[in-house]
């Protein structure tokens, strides 16, 4: 440990080391530690009127968490959120894996840049505006319905926003980049000769992907899935704008709690959501047999 600091000071100088320590420290304490601790503290306190705070009623309690397990509706919404987020993640993976492979190993030169640009351009617009765009596309008199009617596939407009569909669609669209880039990054370093070698040894394309590409891209897939899942489970805009009462998201429950001034209940639910995301991440790591270290590379 002594050597570590000695070497750091030799390489970066005292000012350099101090700068890194202070910036990282400030970021860790003010951006991560304090907000999370405040939330955690809130979640273990009952909702009190202002005059009761600090008084005899201001005690630690598990009440806010117990409420969750006794409220069937909230539990249902919670599990529905998990399930829907898994669907979003799966659909995004199914769409993004081929895109990432195409970008990393098939396309060359200018094509790569063009496709990349195509992927990034929608992100120049604010997420909310993109969701509004989907609202317009999927509206009763929107482009989608008009197109389907024009093609004679349907006679009357479909209410796309009645179920979960619109939310899943909108989210998948919104998070494609977060799935494409981690996978693309890993795949890019895969030696093209390995694909040729496998092909040369008689492997079909399906098997080349199963045996060579997917095992290699595992860290990227794990990162992409984790990010997409967390974003999907944690978003409030998409379900708000594209959803219906039947596609209520757990984040909306949290949001309502905060809006109704029950911050303590909201904090407890937010903590539960965070726990869920952490658990999901570890499941992903387990499934893909990837270490935490590889994940951050």
């Amino acid at each position: 440990m002594r050597d570590f600091w000695k070497n750091a000071i030799r390489d970066l100088g005292k000012i350099g080391v101090a700068y890194i320590l202070i910036t990282v420290g400030v970021w860790m304490v003010f951006m991560i530690l304090i907000p999370q601790l405040i939330m955690l503290n809130y979640s273990f306190k009952p909702m009190l009127a202002l005059r009761d705070i600090g008084g005899p009623k201001d005690v630690w309690t598990l009440k806010n968490y117990i409420v969750f397990f006794t409220n069937k509706l909230h539990m249902a919404i919670f599990f529905k959120t998990i399930w829907s987020s898994i669907i979003v993640t799966s659909v995004a993976l199914a769409i993004c894996y081929p895109i990432a492979f195409y970008l990393a190993k098939v396309a060359r030169g200018a094509t790569v840049g063009l496709v990349m640009l195509g992927l990034v351009i929608p992100y120049w617009i604010n997420e909310l505006l993109r969701l509004f765009a989907w609202q317009i596309i999927l509206a009763d008199s929107g482009i989608m319905n008009q197109l389907l009617i024009f093609l004679g596939i349907i006679a009357d407009p479909i209410n796309f926003r009645a179920g979960n569909g619109a939310v899943v669609l909108g989210m998948t669209y919104a998070y494609i980049l977060f799935m494409v880039f981690p996978i693309y990054n890993v795949m890019e370093s895969l030696d093209r000769n390995q694909l040729d070698a496998a092909r040369d040894l008689g492997a079909s394309w399906l098997r080349i992907h199963r045996k060579i590409v997917i095992p290699y891209a595992k860290p990227g897939i794990a990162v992409g899935c984790t990010m997409t899942f967390m974003l999907a489970a944690g978003t409030v805009a998409a379900p708000q704008l594209l959803g219906s009462p039947s596609s209520f998201w757990f984040t909306q429950v949290i949001n309502t709690n905060f809006e109704c001034a029950n911050w303590n209940q909201g904090a407890a639910y937010a903590t539960l959501l965070m726990l869920l995301c952490i658990i999901f991440m570890f499941i992903m790591l387990k499934i893909f047999k990837v270490g935490l270290k590889e994940l951050t590379q």
């Binding site: 000769n193 390995q194 040729d196 496998a198 040369d200 040894l201 079909s204 045996k211 060579i212 290699y216």
Partner: protein, 362 residues
């Protein structure tokens, strides 16, 4: 067992660039054949055409008499060893070698037996469960060979597989490759820019310049009787003089150069007045015993480097051109030192005149 490969009128064009142009060569079954050429001459392209990673713009490739155009690399009786080996890093040695068998649906018991045989063949006993990243360069080489041989190819394609190895290991692997080729009887097509590699291992060598096959012949023929100026200058060392042919004497020609007139073989049957270059190998130049000999050059010794079995002597003639000669340390050559003036000569049987090519200098 090996099969023959017939490459007929094959051209490969990338945009305006011809990586291979009108290539014609028939490689016999069980032959060790090398394509030798400088980097960028299109030899790798040729190999990829045979392996089926791409099809030629024009021409025909037949393996064992069967037309291969349109057949993918996974369905050709070939296996390739890549320059960077392209071993599968996440798999063990056994899994690497067994990959081709696994994808062909060979039952597990049979697969294990075959892999064990191959591990034996390439001398990798005990390394079966190691990750390929834990292996040394030479061991990785062996895994690559075993992996390619596992699918019992009729033709093994090798793309400069020894270039990453150190000199000693390279020498060893050359002998090993040759050995494996003899034992298995598989047709080997070897790509290299290293002439020693090509000459020592091959039954026949095809020398390539940019996109063009210049000569196909046995190694000694390529060395002693190069068909073109490119081959002469690319394979082995040569001393060269440019000039004009001034006389023909049967199989021999007389070339007038700035350094004098020389008599030598005329394999291309060039006629009087043609511009040409004479090529003289360093080991055929010797000290003239009498100053009346023909093909005489008067030179000063520029530099002398003693290598043990022989000495490489750089000499400078009166026109200031540097030549190299190689004196065998067999007690016959007189002792010389830098600065001495000497007369050297060569026999007309040992030198040849060839038409100036577009790419004489290699």
């Amino acid at each position: 067992m090996g099969q023959d490969v017939n490459i007929a009128d094959v051209s490969m064009r990338f945009g305006d660039f011809y990586a291979a142009r009108d290539i014609n060569v028939h490689i016999e079954a069980g032959e060790f054949f090398s394509f030798l050429g400088p980097s960028g001459c299109g030899k790798t392209t040729l190999l990829r055409l045979v392996s089926g990673f791409m099809d030629p713009t024009k021409g025909q490739i037949k393996i064992g008499g069967k037309d291969m155009i349109g057949i993918g690399s996974n369905n050709r009786p070939t296996a390739m060893i890549f320059q960077n080996l392209a071993l599968f890093p996440l798999m063990t040695v056994t899994q690497n070698i067994g990959f081709g068998l696994e994808v062909r649906g060979v039952p597990k018991a049979e697969r294990i037996k075959k892999v064990e045989e191959l591990i034996e063949l390439v001398d990798l006993r005990g390394a079966g469960n190691r990750k390929v990243s834990e292996l040394s360069g030479g061991q990785m080489q062996r895994v690559a060979i075993a992996r390619a041989l596992a699918v019992s190819p009729a033709v093994l394609l090798l793309d400069e597989p020894l270039s990453a190895l150190d000199l000693k290991l390279r020498h060893h692997m050359r002998a090993e490759l040759r050995n494996i080729q003899r034992r298995t009887g598989v047709t080997f097509i070897y790509i290299t820019h290293d002439q020693t590699e090509a000459l020592t291992m091959s039954d026949r060598v095809g020398v390539m310049s940019i996109g063009k096959l210049e000569q196909v012949a046995e190694p000694d023929v390529v060395y002693n009787n190069p068909a073109t100026a490119f081959v002469a200058s690319f394979v082995g060392e040569t001393n060269r003089f440019q000039g004009t042919i001034s006389g023909i004497d049967g199989e021999y020609a007389v070339l007038n150069t700035a350094s004098g007139s020389f008599s030598c073989k005329n394999p291309q049957h060039l006629s009087q007045g043609e511009e040409a270059t004479i090529f003289i190998r360093p080991e055929t130049v010797f000290m003239a015993e009498e100053s009346t000999a023909s093909n005489l050059l008067t030179c000063g010794i520029h530099n002398l480097s003693f290598e043990g079995a022989y000495a490489v002597v750089t000499i400078k003639n009166e026109q200031g051109q540097l030549l190299t000669m190689r004196l065998n340390n067999d007690g016959t050559a007189p002792r010389v030192k830098a600065g001495d003036n000497v007369k050297v000569t060569f026999n007309r049987e040992n030198a040849f005149v060839l038409k100036n090519g577009d790419s004489t200098s290699a």
